[in-house]
Each structure stands twice: as structure tokens, then as C-alpha cells.
Symmetry: C2
């Protein structure tokens, strides 16, 4: 069985949303599976100056347009949300709760959160919104409470982010296969060539 | 005559080097011409926090590998130079001296500088190296001296950078066609679609 592709994403990242619509099909074409990893980019990384690209009106304007154009180019439905850069810790903790029990459920939840944010313009930083989403109904209220308040779920997410950092992840979407790192949707053709023909 | 493509690049940018190998052919396929613009990214922009992406060992390692892989992927010969991030003001001033007289000569000089840096590992921050390069022989010694010491050539480059900034340029390579901005080699397929089918 060939190595899976590790797919890192932040729920705040529209580029991550676009990648989420394509990565599984790409992997399947090459007989690979995908491990999904929700991370929060500014949790650990910000202080290390490793992630946040300086933003300015100019650059934000560019990114806003770029995302819309990329979605159109890739044929992915997309609606720019009224608020970009929402906090995604809670959504990420929920993701891991589902994903640790069943990766298929984790993935379904992730797709659901992404759709809510980048198609339906819902505020995924709010617990009520997350609670309302998709399969969260299947989550016991006690678990949901612990996700809000605390420790095990926080530690779970922190470990994921620490691991991502140790592996050299610094953006969303980010892919690792056989130790090779690929950052951004635009590196997917290079990732595909890697899968087809091996290292280059 | 359809609008030309404006191509902005910094001689320190390996991605700009890669773009320089492909942009003219791309434009020609669509009956367009290209205006080449040498800029210096950290001259004006740094203070505005508009350009420089925070670097770290992690990220630099990534970029170093990414450039090599991209060059291999695109079939562009490339050799990582021993020193990245050289100062490129002088090379850019020389470029404009040539380009203002004859765009074909400007382009030839630009290709020459890029090859010297990213194939031959020469230090293009040094005047002697630039002086030695290609068509610089055709430059009168008095002009060359004025490029080192000053004002008209400096003002010429500064105006170019100010204009680039006003147009929303913040990286290398950067392309503008009909007011639409495209940042990076990876956006060239989107630029091509724009040329083929118009705005989207």
C-alpha cells in the first residue's frame, strides 16, 4: 500500500476549502488515500513569524480577487464570506473529535464546515453554528461542552499543530507525501507528477 | 492591437527567472506583446510591510526546494546560486538604461543577468560582473559611471517602482493585463484563460 497523502488545512482558509473539493479525487486517481488534518495557522505559528504574510489593503484585495478567480478557474462553487479570518480553533477541535473516531465522519464534518463558511456565509467561529452543522447532532452534549471549555480537546489540537510544525507545515492547504512538501493548490500538478513518476 | 502584458520582475527572484523563460512565448501564442519591468521589491515595499514574507529556516528550505522542483517541472535549466537575495538595484538600473533605448536590448540584458545569477552562480550585485555581462560592452563608460553614482538612473528606477506599487504589484513575477493582476508562475494558466476567453 503506497503512503497516504497528508492534507493540512485551516478552516479559515478559502484555498483550503478549494483543495478540499479536489484532493480526494486526485489521490484516488493514483491509488492513494488522504489523511485530513485540521490545523490553526496562527495558533502556534504567529509568534514564530512563520506564517502570517503581512496583509495590507492592497494585498487583501488581491487575495480576495485571486480566490474568486481560482474557484471559477477550477469550477468550484464559492461565495466570498462577509467576514474573512474567523477563529477556527473550535471547528478544528470538533473535527478531531469526529476524525479520531472515524475519518469518514471527520471528512464529512470538514466539508460541512467549509461549505457553511465559503458557500453559505455562516459564522463558523460560533458554537451554535457548529452545533447546528451536519453531523454534530451525533455528538453527545457532554463532549460538546468539553470542546468549549477544555483540556483534552485543546491538547489534542495543540499536538496536531505541533506535529504539523515539526513536519514543516506553514500554510493552508499543505500536502506531504513521502516526506515531500507541497504548499498551495497551485502545487497540485507537481504533486501529481510526483505520484505518477516519483521524485524529481 | 490588444493590450500588452506587463511583466514585473526582480533580478533576485528565482521565480522571476523562471517566468522570464516562458512569458514571451505565452504572450505570442495569444497575439500579445510583453512589456518587461525590472523592479526592486524591498526598496519601497519593505517599509510598508507589503512584500517580504517572513522568512525562517523552515520556509527558506521549502522555497529552495520549491524553486528547484518548479524549474524541473517546467523544464527550465536552473542552478541554485550560492547566495540568494542579492541586491539588485544596479542590475535594475542598467536594465532600464537599455530598455528605454530599445526594449529588445533590455530584454536581452535581463535574460543575461538572470542566466548569470541562476545558471552560472555569478554575483550580479557587483558592478564588475554586470559590466562584464553581454551587451554592457555597448554602454558608454560615462553612462555606466552615472549608474553607479546616481541621480537620473536612480530616479528612473524609483519612478518604475512607485508606478508598480501604485498598480498593486507586490511580488515577482507579477503580471498585469487589462488591469487584472496575476502573481506568480502558478497563475499563468489563469492568465492564459483570461487571454483566451476574457474576464471571468
Amino acid at each position: 500500500m503506497p503512503a497516504p497523502i497528508d492534507f493540512y488545512f485551516d478552516f479559515a482558509s478559502p484555498y483550503g476549502y478549494i483543495a478540499a473539493q479536489t484532493i480526494d479525487a486526485l489521490a484516488e486517481r493514483h491509488g492513494r488515500t488522504v489523511n485530513w488534518h485540521a490545523i490553526v495557522l496562527d495558533a502556534n505559528f504567529q509568534s514564530l513569524e512563520r506564517i502570517r504574510i503581512p496583509t495590507s489593503v492592497m494585498r487583501s484585495d488581491y487575495i480576495r480577487r485571486d480566490v474568486e478567480r481560482l474557484a471559477a478557474f477550477m469550477g468550484v462553487p464559492f461565495k466570498t464570506p462577509s467576514s474573512l479570518g474567523l477563529h477556527t480553533e473550535m471547528a478544528a477541535r470538533l473535527f478531531h473529535w469526529f476524525n479520531d473516531r472515524d475519518p469518514a465522519q471527520g471528512r464529512a464534518f470538514a466539508q460541512c464546515v467549509y461549505r457553511a463558511y465559503f458557500l453559505e456565509d455562516r459564522n463558523i467561529a460560533q458554537l451554535e453554528v457548529l452545533q447546528d452543522l451536519c453531523s454534530t447532532q451525533q455528538m453527545p452534549p457532554a463532549e460538546l461542552q468539553s470542546l468549549v471549555n477544555d483540556s483534552a480537546a485543546r491538547a489534542r489540537l495543540k499536538a496536531e499543530i505541533d506535529l504539523a510544525e515539526a513536519r514543516g507545515v506553514f500554510g493552508s492547504p499543505f500536502f506531504i507525501v513521502e516526506g515531500e512538501r507541497f504548499w498551495g493548490n497551485d502545487r497540485l500538478p507537481q504533486l501529481e507528477r510526483w505520484l505518477e513518476r516519483g521524485p524529481y
